[in-house]
């Protein structure tokens, strides 16, 4: 029952949010309470997942033999915990952000947000491909109002681009799902691959894998399917933060992991050489995205390209199919989420308080916003892989995984991109602390506590999870047990 409740918690909040559109405080109360409730439900699932006991709930059939089913397996719980946990921070932050900017249509904003979160949790807990597909499409549609929220021509064209990419991916995924159903006769995810043991011809398998990869790869931002992501930065910053660092893109990489580990399985991946295909794509994406990030002057766009790169870390980790690599990849979902959300929060805070979007204008901003820039520094260091912060931890495992799989190129890519990360983040930090602005900053100071507190919290979380990866939720153990089930499931 719990997985269903977790999905429904925010969905149930939607009508309440819509009804209380005249009373902003009440409306925000609903959002926050839904977020807390949802997080509580998800947390309650953690012990079970750690004990490797998955709560399963199967509702009505979606198609004969395929039901609308939720299963809180370790991977799902892992992803759901991060998404729902960070939603709480984002909710507070959003309130500060939209009120700070006196945004219009706040009701639509919060309602869409709630639907998105439901869909994300639905994706996390879906027990089969059809359920996954269902929530994947809902997520696509529910994100659209957030992307076009500002209703400027830029936002609208960004929305178009977003829809064009994600809807196309959706129909490709439909084809892939239908084909899988035709081949395997069932659609439930299983560690080690639901297609394992099916008599799929090599050419067919290749096509099917390509379809899957295109279907989930768009949201995961694998090049050359990434270009909607930087464009979608036209959305308000909290949206970028949660959706483009946590929910939407992570649903994409989550989908990649599901496809690699639970649909095809390690054995098929190896046999047909898909792992190298994915590795090449991911490695290229990491390097190219980092290089592109260097050229961006808009802070959010730079963050977006950084996201594209880091998503491919996860993809690459999954494609390595070695114990540490897979674990590191999964764990990177969590670490990248906390760090990137911090960075986006900071960008939003700067925008709200100083209306600055470009990196060139950030000279000396740290004096105005010490807390914000402190958090930003933590996030930037973490993404570059500096030790006490959790980014180091996942990268370490990814590196080891590359060695385990004898993929030295992958290791090289990780190291090189670490350097590139440093190259595109440190100038920002440097400007903020050591340059002085030519204009006299007119003392706007820090943003409202509603924004600063969440971003400091997420920065602290980044450090805490760097020092103690297993604290509270046992993220690392979860990642390990997922890896084990996938890799051993392949051998059975």
């Amino acid at each position: 029952m719990l997985p269903l409740l977790a999905v429904m918690a925010s969905l149930a909040a939607v009508p309440l949010i819509l009804l209380s559109s005249r009373f902003p405080n009440l409306r925000e109360t609903w959002t926050i309470s839904a977020a807390v409730l949802k997080f509580a439900f998800v947390c309650a699932l953690v012990p079970g997942a750690l004990a490797n006991k998955s709560a399963v709930i199967s509702l009505i059939d979606l198609s004969p033999g395929v039901s609308l089913a939720f299963k809180a397996d370790p991977l799902g719980v892992f992803f759901a915990t991060i998404a729902s946990g960070l939603w709480i921070f984002t909710s507070f932050y959003s309130i500060g952000y939209v009120r700070g900017l006196q945004e219009e249509k706040q009701t639509r904003y919060f309602a869409s947000f709630a639907v998105c979160l439901s869909a994300t949790i639905g994706i996390a807990f879906s027990a089969n491909l059809l359920t996954f597909l269902l929530f994947y499409e809902i997520l696509t549609v529910a994100t659209y109002p957030l992307v076009i929220h500002k209703e400027t021509p830029i936002a609208i064209s960004a929305g178009r681009k977003y829809l064009a990419y994600t809807l196309t991916a959706g129909v490709v995924l439909i084809a892939a799902t239908a084909w899988t159903y035709h081949v395997a006769g069932r659609l439930d995810f299983r560690p080690g691959g639901l297609l394992a043991g099916s008599n799929l011809g090599s050419g067919e398998a290749r096509l099917l894998f390509l379809l899957f990869l295109a279907g989930v790869g768009v949201k995961a931002g694998i090049m050359p399917l990434h270009s909607w992501l930087p464009t979608a930065m036209a959305a308000p910053t909290p949206v970028s933060a949660l959706l483009h660092a946590v929910a939407v893109v992570k649903s994409g990489v989550f989908g990649v992991i599901r496809v690699v580990g639970f649909v095809f399985g390690p054995e098929l991946m190896h046999r047909h050489g898909f792992d190298s295909v994915v590795m090449v794509l991911a490695a290229a994406t990491i390097i190219l995205a980092s290089l592109l990030a260097l050229t961006q002057d808009n802070l959010k766009r730079r963050l977006a390209y950084s996201t594209v790169g880091h998503l491919s870390y996860i993809v690459l980790g999954a494609a390595l199919l070695s114990p540490s690599g897979f674990t590191g990849g999964i764990y990177h979902i969590a670490t990248h989420a906390t760090m990137k959300i911090t960075l986006f929060f900071c960008a939003g805070a700067i925008y709200v308080q100083h209306h600055k979007e470009n990196i060139g204008d950030l000279n000396g901003i740290a004096r105005e916003m010490p807390w914000t820039m402190g958090a930003f520094t933590v996030g930037a260091l973490g993404l570059a892989g500096i030790p006490p912060i959790n980014g180091f931890f996942s990268k370490w495992y990814l590196g080891i995984g590359a060695l385990e799989a004898n993929e030295f190129v992958a290791l090289l890519v990780f190291l090189l991109s670490g350097l590139l990360n440093a190259a595109y983040f440190f100038p920002i930090v440097y400007r903020a602390y050591f340059r002085t602005s030519e204009h006299n900053n007119n003392g706007h100071g820090e943003a409202s506590p509603l924004m600063v507190v969440p971003l400091v919290c997420t920065a602290i979380l980044s450090v805490v999870f760097g020092l103690a990866p297993n604290l509270f939720f046992g993220f690392f153990d979860l990642a390990m047990s997922i890896t084990q089930s996938v890799l051993s499931g392949g051998r059975i």
């Binding site: 198609s63 597909l133 809902i138 809807l167 196309t168 084809a175």
Partner: protein
């Protein structure tokens, strides 16, 4: 006692109301509407009873005048026909609840003939569905078509021309069907469907049999606007009054699709159109062409109703595709799409009716975000129906496509899979084009009044409730599609697939 007459009740209710309306109309124009509505609700009730009986006890036969079937005419209430009649009556009731205001404003002064002819249309459509006799089917087909021409013709200025062209093509279609029937009758000496189904398998494959089959398929194809015989449809649906298009677009062509299904799989044996003649394949190719053609032209339209009409061409082709494949999955998809598309199109056309009443036009290039201010609920209904047309789960439209995709994969028809999916995207293009204008295009302020000064001008409850019911039903149809498929649709598919 009523139970025994169930197959008869639905058409006869409509027939009586069609005849009674001109008489009560003598007493006053305002009495026409309630009679039509009450009759429709009664018919819905009877059809629902019929469905439950047919699912519980199997086919139910009703011989007219006490003459035994091969000679006399019989009505058959089997799962397929009862499901169709529930669909027809239910949607008609909803559209009629909606109809009072639009009819008053669009066909003012002609309410009595309008409602009477509408009831006649429903007599014809439900008769087609329920009859077990091929010639009787022709008669009902013509009754419904004639009524259809009439209620189209009372629309805008070009409506009579559209109706006339429809009449010419529709008559050709009906005549083709009749010629096919003549050959079939010459060969078998029978017109009863069940009787024919037992005779035809024993016949040798002679030219007359082939001609008869082909003629019937072509004739029905014309009536269902199967590409490339769709020429009459766009104009007819565009210029008809809102209520007429809301009735004809979801129901008229679907009933023709039903006839195709009946003839191809229940009268002739399923293998006839598959193995002996390449009719199934031809149908599939035509359908694939129609799916693409309809969607592409829909993108080019400037008028919302016309866009919906072209989208109908494409959606009907989906149904034809399922019938063409003729496997169990494909037929499931086709029947499910008949149901789903009826709901979606009805919802969309009702919203167009609301729009015409509130803002007086439905030209896409003049839409702006005043619409969402003026009529938020109608627009919400439109959005849901549009998303369903695009195929976003868990809305109904996704699932019929899902079955069709499964069926195409089963046949290894990759081109068809690609076309179905591509059309999803094309439909996303034309629907989001509308949605974007409705929600995001700033008000083309006249006199600088601005967005905030607009007062909400949503249509009355009697129009809003059916609209929202239809779009809400899309969720239910989608989520519970498996129940529908396993409980109802599997029961209605031809036994010898």
């Amino acid at each position: 006692m009523i139970e025994q007459h169930l197959p008869l009740l639905v058409p006869i209710t409509y027939l009586f109301s069609a005849l009674v309306i001109p008489l009560v109309g003598l007493a006053g124009r305002r009495y026409a509407y309630p009679v039509a509505l009450i009759a429709s609700l009664l018919a819905t009730f009877a059809a629902a009873r019929g469905l439950s009986v047919a699912l519980r006890e199997g086919a139910m036969r009703y011989a007219f005048g006490g003459w035994a079937p091969p000679i006399g005419i019989e009505f058959v209430l089997d799962p397929l026909s009862s499901c169709m009649s529930v669909l027809l009556t239910g949607l008609t009731s909803l559209v009629l609840i909606h109809a009072r205001r639009p009819v008053e404003s669009e066909v003012s002064g002609k309410e009595i003939p309008f409602y009477s002819v509408t009831m006649l249309l429903m007599t014809g459509l439900t008769g087609i569905v329920l009859t077990g006799d091929l010639f009787n089917l022709f008669v009902f087909l013509e009754i419904s078509s004639l009524a259809g021409y009439a209620i189209i013709a009372v629309g805008e200025k070009p409506a009579p021309v559209a109706a006339f062209r429809y009449l010419i093509l529709g008559t050709i279609g009906a005549t083709m069907y009749l010629i096919g029937l003549a050959f079939l009758y010459m060969l078998t000496g029978s017109l009863n469907m069940a009787d024919l189904a037992s005779i035809i398998p024993q016949l040798p494959l002679t030219p007359p049999l082939v001609v008869s089959f082909a003629m019937m398929v072509v004739g029905v194809g014309l009536k269902m606007a199967l590409f490339p015989m769709h020429g009459w449809l766009p104009d007819a649906y565009t210029y008809a009054p809102s209520t007429s298009s809301a009735l004809l677009a979801p129901l008229g062509t679907k009933v023709a699709a039903y006839v195709l299904l009946r003839v191809m799989f229940f009268v002739f044996q399923p293998s006839f159109g598959r193995d002996m003649l390449p009719v199934g394949d031809v149908l599939t190719y035509l359908a694939a062409g129609g799916i693409l053609f309809g969607s592409i032209l829909a993108i080019a339209q400037k008028e919302l109703k016309r866009m919906l009409a072209f989208s109908s061409v494409s959606q009907i082709a989906y149904i034809a595709l399922g019938i063409g494949f003729g496997s169990q999955l494909a037929l499931t998809g086709a029947v499910l799409h008949i149901v789903n598309h009826a709901f979606m199109k009805a919802a969309l056309f009702l919203v167009v009716g609301n729009m015409r009443l509130v803002v007086g036009h439905s030209r896409i290039d003049q839409f702006d975000d005043s619409l969402r201010r003026l009529m938020p609920w109608s627009m919400a209904a439109f959005t849901i129906a549009a998303l369903s047309m695009v195929g976003i789960p868990p809305l109904a439209g996704f699932f019929s496509k899902w079955y069709l995709v499964l069926a195409s994969i089963e046949r290894s028809a990759w081109g068809i899979v690609a076309i179905i999916l591509l059309t999803s995207l094309l439909s996303a293009v034309y629907f989001f084009r509308v949605l974007e204008r409705v929600y995001l295009r700033p008000l083309q302020a006249i006199g600088g009044s601005g967005f905030e000064s607009l007062a909400r001008k949503e249509v009355t409850m009697s129009m809003l409730v059916p609209t929202l019911t239809l779009s809400g039903a899309l969720f239910i149809l989608g989520v519970f599609n498996t129940t529908i498929v396993t409980k109802v649709i599997h029961a209605m598919l031809p036994p010898a697939l």
